[in-house]
């Protein structure tokens, strides 16, 4: 594979597969060119302005008309994967919303309705975003939502086949049980919506082109006999897929998403991830980085943690510090990894903005 530290931001050729990953360390978004000028998006994150969905910025920058976005996929209802998804879906007026089957369940609809309408803070956006996209989907005839689970075909044409490798039905049932337990009851205190830990119902996407494939791992975790093992053991599509040359590493490279057997099945693949930083959780850890680099040296991150700046207003921060309060910019700066390949050609990975080799994700060195 060819690594490009500098490349032009331009449109791919019609017969070129492009998979671009954007990430600012809280949130990630993937856009896929699947041939003949057609695109889909997977999840959404925001630009550094905290307002514009990264996918829209990119499409505008390379001159893609948003009418060419045919599918907007939401892998799972977690805050770091749906930042600005409402804006993205509205802007892509001719697209089909693709979501996990969990969103077709009444309990899940009730959960989003309860909390979206009673959301008392602008700081808890996840359920509001979900509620908005469900309502937006009602206006989109004939582009009605597509609810998927393991082995559901999403797109198939002469160039590409795109399929969901997860979630399994059992995972969906477990998740919906948690949703039911968290529905508000009369005379109970309001709280902000609890985290439903939806990683287990993440949509993992398989992109197959003639002779090779890419796996986009969302946040699917691995537990004994479940998660990635379930895909390897149960997915008919996976078992028939050609060799994988690109993996979007699941769950920001965390150890609880690591499946050695899965890595062993895809030797030589390029691996990309969007890191995660919120509160005292930072992924990947240095141990995660070392583990992944043992699997493949061709591993890259959309950004580095050290792009999260500390002081913005000296007087304010000095006073906060006197009171035991440290302030940082919430998100490190966004970066972009662009993977392109044509059948029977060498693949290219281009690094834009703050994207780096994975070994640099924790580095504080200035990167040119």
């Amino acid at each position: 594979m060819e690594i490009l530290q500098k490349a032009n931001l331009d449109q791919p050729e019609n017969d070129q597969l492009e998979i671009s990953l954007f990430g600012p360390s809280y949130g990630e978004c993937i856009v896929v060119h699947y041939g003949n000028g057609k695109w889909l998006t997977i999840d959404s994150c925001l630009e550094d302005d905290r307002s514009t969905p990264a996918a829209i910025s990119y499409f505008n920058e390379i001159g893609v008309d948003l009418s060419n976005i045919t599918h907007v996929i939401v892998t799972h209802p977690d805050g770091d994967h749906i930042g600005g998804i409402g804006k993205l879906l509205s802007a892509c007026a001719d697209s089909t919303l693709v979501v996990s089957s969990v969103l077709s369940d009444r309990q899940m609809v009730a959960y989003t309705t309860y909390y979206a309408q009673s959301d008392t803070s602008s700081l808890t956006q996840t359920t509001k975003e979900l509620y908005d996209i469900l309502n937006e989907s009602l206006k989109r005839h004939p582009y009605t939502p597509k609810y998927v689970l393991q082995d559901t075909l999403i797109i198939e044409n002469d160039f590409v086949k795109i399929t969901a490798l997860s979630p399994s039905s059992s995972k969906i049932n477990n998740f919906l049980a948690r949703v039911s337990q968290n529905l508000p009851q009369k005379n109970t205190n309001r709280i902000v919506p609890a985290s439903l830990t939806p990683n287990a119902v993440s949509l993992v996407i398989l992109v197959e082109v003639d002779g090779f494939s890419a796996i986009l791992g969302a946040d699917l975790e691995e537990h004994p006999g479940r998660g990635w093992t379930e895909i390897m053991n149960n997915s008919i599509t996976y078992s028939n897929a050609p060799g994988c040359i690109l993996l979007k590493i699941p769950h920001h490279g965390s150890s609880n998403a690591d499946c050695p057997a899965f890595w062993n099945s895809m030797k030589g693949a390029t691996a990309i991830l969007a890191p995660f930083k919120r509160g005292n959780v930072q992924l990947p850890t240095q141990l995660d980085v070392e583990r992944i680099l043992n699997y493949t040296n061709n591993a890259f991150s959309t950004t580095r943690f050290s792009t999260q700046s500390k002081v913005k207003d000296h007087n304010v921060d000095k006073t906060l510090k006197e009171h035991g309060i440290q302030r940082k910019q919430l998100f490190p700066k966004l970066g972009h990894l662009r993977f392109r390949v044509k059948v029977h050609n060498v693949a290219q990975l281009a690094l834009f903005k703050n994207a780096v080799h994975l070994s640099m994700v924790n580095s504080t060195e200035h990167v040119h």
């Binding site: 009444r106 005292n280 304010v316 906060l320 035991g324």
Partner: protein, 191 residues
């Protein structure tokens, strides 16, 4: 000047601490005038000072009148709304945004010593709790000015029977539409 409009302004405020303290002292040396009365005096420095006044969650200012005493006055200069993202042994993390920032999403992350929380509020500290943090100056005993922070957790009301009934009704409306759409989708055989 429309004080409410001032409160709702999303303009970022830059300030100089020494200058602000001097203005605060000058303000306190005057009689207990309302803000509007002070505005009538047309003092440029007062207008600048008012730009630095942000409504604090504890309602330092109510209907344009400073309600705290002459001897003990708190003036807010920054007011953040935050949500707790992680709780550690001595500190907690939160995502915050300025209350008057029109952008609805948080931009900053704070790591806050738990000492900033009143003992009576400690039980409210959990992931997902919403709070307000105000940074300002307190003028004590007519002369001493100290920098101060206030951290107040938001106490949310209970779900009433009417709230639940309304949410169920809204759920049914959305659910029925989605099901109808889904069945239509299946019938049309879209891939």
């Amino acid at each position: 000047m429309d004080f409410d409009a001032l409160q709702n302004s999303s303009d970022q405020i830059s300030f100089d601490i020494d200058s602000d303290i001097q203005q605060l002292i000058e303000l306190d040396q005057r009689d207990n005038l309302t803000l509007s009365e002070k505005q009538d005096e047309g003092s440029g420095s007062l207008v600048n000072l008012e730009k630095n006044v942000v409504r604090a969650p504890a309602l330092t200012i109510l209907k344009g009148r400073i309600i705290s005493s002459h001897q003990d006055r708190f003036r807010a200069i920054r007011n953040w709304e935050g949500v707790v993202t992680a709780v550690c042994d001595d500190t907690f993390f939160a995502s915050v945004k300025l209350v008057n920032d029109k952008n609805t999403l948080p931009k900053d992350e704070l790591e806050i010593d738990k000492d900033n929380i009143d003992v009576g509020d400690r039980n409210l500290l959990k992931v997902g709790s919403v709070f307000y943090l105000t940074l300002g100056y307190r003028k004590r005993n007519g002369s001493q000015v100290v920098k101060e922070t206030r951290l107040v957790f938001r106490r949310l009301p209970q779900w009433s029977g009417a709230d639940i009934a309304q949410a169920e009704e809204d759920t049914d409306k959305l659910w029925i539409k989605l099901q109808s759409q889904k069945n239509g989708n299946t019938a049309e055989g879209q891939s």
